[in-house]
Structures are given as C-alpha cells and as structure tokens.
Symmetry: C2
C-alpha cells in the first residue's frame, strides 16, 4: 500500500501529481476530481496518475492521502471516506487556514484515524489542473501542523514527502499558523480585493477609463485579486477572528497615515515610509522574492 | 539651441538621458544633479551627457528642459532659473501629481514663460542613476497636462518627444489627472506602505518571525513599499484631497468586507471576489501588465 491518493485536481493537486510522477516517488498515484470540467482538462492534458471515481475504494491501497480541495469540502469528504479510513493512512490536506478547518476534522473524523495537516506556501492567481507545475513547491516553505489529531511519525513522513516536493518544512500549532498567515497572506489578499473593488466603484462613479493607467501600482494588486474566489472565501470565513483583528490594525494605521497627509506631518510620514523599506531587503535576503526591480517584468 | 537640459539625475532623469543618447535625438544633453552621491555614480557609470554645475547657464542653449527632481524642489529650481528662462524654452516636469505642484509653478514662474507638464507612467521601487534604463518608458503611457501655463505647440513637441522615448501620450487636465492617479497609483502605494507597516507592528507585538512566510502575498506589497520616500511623501502631500477621499472609500469597502466575513455572508462576499477578477483580465488585455501567472516569477 505504498500508493498515493490525491483528492482534488486543481492547481495544487495537479502540481503534486506532476512532481510525484516526475520524481518517481511511488509507482501508483490515484487522483479523484469531482468537477467534469477539470476531469476533461486532466484527460486532454494527459496528466499522469489513475483517475478514479470512488476514492473510498483505493484508501486501503494508499499510504498517503492528500486532500487538495477547497476547505469547505472537507466535511463531505470525511463523511464519505470515514468507513474506509484506516489508522495507518497518513492523511493530510493543503488548506491555508487551520483552526476552524481542523475543528471540522476533529469533529467528523472517525476515532482512531490521524490527520496531520500541511500548508505549502505556494500558489498563484491562476487555478485548475492546466496551471499546475511540478516545481510549484520548489524552495517554498511547507508548514506542518501539530494538532489534536496529528501523529508524530506521520508528520515525520510528511516532512520527508514535502522535502521531495522541493520544500523546506517547519512545524507549528494551528493557532500560531493562523495568526502568522492572517498577516502575511490573508490580509494582503483581502486588501488587494478591496483595492480593486474600490477602483471599480470609483470608475463607475466618475465614468473614467482607469485601467489603462494601472501600471502605476494598481496592476500589482489586480494579480492577487484574481485569485480563486471559493478558496479565498473559505480562508476568510475560516480565519475570521484573526483576520478581523488584522483589519482593525490596518484601519488604525491607515487613519494615522491619513492624518499625517492632511496635516503634512513631514517627520511622522518619512519615518513610516523609510521603515517599511527595510522589509523589502529582508524579504529578498530571505529569498522569499525575486531580487530584480519590478519583479523582473518588462 | 536644440539641446536638452535634464535637471535631476535619478531613475527617471538618467533613463531619459540613456534613451536620448541611444536614439541620438540631440547632439548635446546637459545634466544637472545636486547630490554628490549621484554625481559620483554618474561618473562611475560613465553615463552620456555633459554634467553641469549651473543649469541656468545653459538654458539659452537648450530647447527642452525636463525637471526630474522630487516635486518639493520645484520652487527652488524655478526661483533659481527664472532669470534665465525664455519663452521659447519648452519646460516640462515628470511629477506624479499635478494640481498642487502646478500651483507652485503658476505662482513662481516668471510671466511669459510656459510650463507644459508631463507624467510618464513608468517607475520602479529602486531609484538613483544606477537603476535607470533606456527602455523605461517603452510602451508606457505619458500624460500631458493642459494647464494654465501650458502651451499648445510645446505640448505638440512633447508628444513627439515622448513618442521617441517609446511612450504613447494622452492629454488631461490637472484635475482629471490627479483624480485618476489617486486611485490607480497613489492609493495603491499608500496601501502597500500601510500593509507593510501593519505587518511590522504585528511582528513586534507577537515576536513572530513573519517575513520568512511572506511568499503568500505580503512580498508583493513589500516591493511597492520600498519606493523612494521623498518622492512619495511629495505625492501624498500634493494630492492629499483626492487621496483622502480615496482612503475614505477604501475604508468603507473594507468595513463591508469585514461584515461579510464576520456574518459569513456567502452571497455578498462571492459577488465581490468574482467581480474583482475581471479587472485583471482587462489589465492584461490593455497590455498594462505581463500575461504570465505570478508576474512570471520563479
């Protein structure tokens, strides 16, 4: 039973599929996908792996099971597969927030079954199996979650698995994970969506042709605001307590910026504008972004 | 007197210098720069053009004068050069906001002298002569401003000049310009600075090592938030009325997002998250950004 079962063949699922196949990690990869559109794409792309109709039927042959669906699907999947799950299955998921999604897992997963959650910090504004790529996880972090239902030896296995995917791993509690990513990922996405929404509102009201002039900043936000809406709705709902706190901090700071601007408070604004600059250098130093001006565009 | 005088040898000034030289547009380019650091870089880089110490001395030999300094320098430059300016000089600047900066121009520029303002929608998070490049303006918009002191034939000359720089041009009033760019450029920059500031505040409070995990969104904002602080202070102060309105709209929308998240209002949030998606496609269609997922990084 050394096979791998992937549930959900979107950007992440299909990237894992490509990588596992390329690195010849197991002889057999099962893949389950419920969307007809994605199944057709899978066939057209001739992706590796065996497409299956009933994931519960291959659980006994699968050592590792990776759930790559939106988090709002977890409950349905667990209830469907509970009967088939065995304690030796190493079950993980790739969801971007953990506290609430693991509450669903804890509540619904059959007794004696483990669930050791993962969060690879990799993604894109595009989704679907056609956009997956085998090097999506290369040099990225993957957070492994020590939760109520996780298992030490399973986490050890997952560490080695994600290393094979090209990632570095780190362990965190669900609480710490959700706090950190509310700031480094969830708030930025919300802000990007909100900025683009505000530009749309302004355009409608003023009847100006704005987007032609988006190269001065807006275009960067539009990329993030093009991300998958189901995935992001799930994250926003799931991590709502931390995100609400992050929004409050953001609005408080924005009002302070507005005051500086209205009062032309030179000292205060220059302090803000120079301090934030240091963050970019740190991010480049940590190899979390490309070291080229303007992301190397043009 | 077909020469060109560039005042300020930063990112934009040095990019113009490189382009004018490469395209052999004039035989002589004068360049004035007050910062010793930038003068040394200019010499080390062996940039083209004749470095001068007194810009007022070459005004009579220069048809086109391009001010590429921060907007807060305009008054000083005008007062210094007023005596030398002639009505046949085609004077322009490359500042990013127009209403207030042109008020300074109108108030201080000697009678009978024209000032036809430009705004090339091109830039980067890096600054200084070492980062300039001859193709910075290629396929970018350049807005030409019809203002109180602009001159029709000068604007026509500038249109042709910016075309040689590789740009498309469009004419606007200062009022329309400042409204549009408060949304497409100034607010996005302010928001990026504010997000990075909020992440710093959070990091300090929680003592978490955040930046390691910035690949999930924050890194994109950190690029914009690394932009030149003097230039952006000037823009924020100069266009403060429009930016304040933009901030108000942004906060109103953000509070609505927060409500949707707290109440788990599925219909309302999905409407927002899908509508914003369309903006990205339009921006790509308008060739205002690179048509590759994740800006083609990795």
């Amino acid at each position: 039973m050394n096979n791998i079962l992937i549930i959900g063949c979107g950007l992440l699922g299909s990237s894992l599929l490509r990588r596992i196949h390329k690195k010849k990690i197991v002889s057999k990869i099962f893949i389950y996908e419920k969307s007809k559109k994605s199944i057709n794409k899978f066939k057209k792309l001739k992706l590796p792996g065996t497409l299956i109709k009933r994931p519960e039927d291959v659980v006994s042959q699968s050592k590792l099971i990776i759930i790559c669906t939106p988090m709002s699907e977890y409950k349905k999947i667990i209830l469907r597969m509970n009967k088939s799950f065995q304690s030796k299955n190493i079950i993980t998921d790739v969801g971007s927030s953990k506290l609430k999604s693991l509450e669903i897992v804890n509540k619904n997963l059959k007794k004696g079954i483990f669930w050791s959650s993962s969060h690879p910090i990799a993604g894109s504004e595009v989704s679907g199996p056609e956009n997956g790529k085998q090097n999506l996880f290369e040099n990225k972090w993957c957070v492994l979650i020590k939760g109520k239902r996780s298992n030490k030896s399973h986490l050890k296995f997952l560490k080695s698995f994600w290393n094979k995917m090209g990632s570095k791993t780190i362990e965190m509690t669900p609480d710490k994970h959700d706090k950190i990513f509310s700031i480094t990922s969830h708030l930025p996405h919300l802000i990007a969506y909100n900025l683009v929404k505000s530009a749309q509102d302004f355009e409608k009201k003023q009847k100006y042709d704005l987007l032609k002039y988006s190269a001065g900043g807006l275009r960067d936000f539009s990329r993030i605001a093009a991300s998958n809406e189901i995935m992001w709705r799930d994250i926003f709902f799931d991590n709502r307590t931390n995100i609400s706190k992050a929004i409050n901090l953001f609005i408080k700071n924005l009002k302070s910026f507005k005051r500086d601007i209205s009062l032309k408070n030179n000292k205060s604004i220059l302090k803000k504008l120079t301090q934030t600059k240091k963050v970019r250098s740190k991010i480049i130093q940590l190899k979390q972004d490309i070291n080229k001006p303007d992301f190397g565009r043009d």
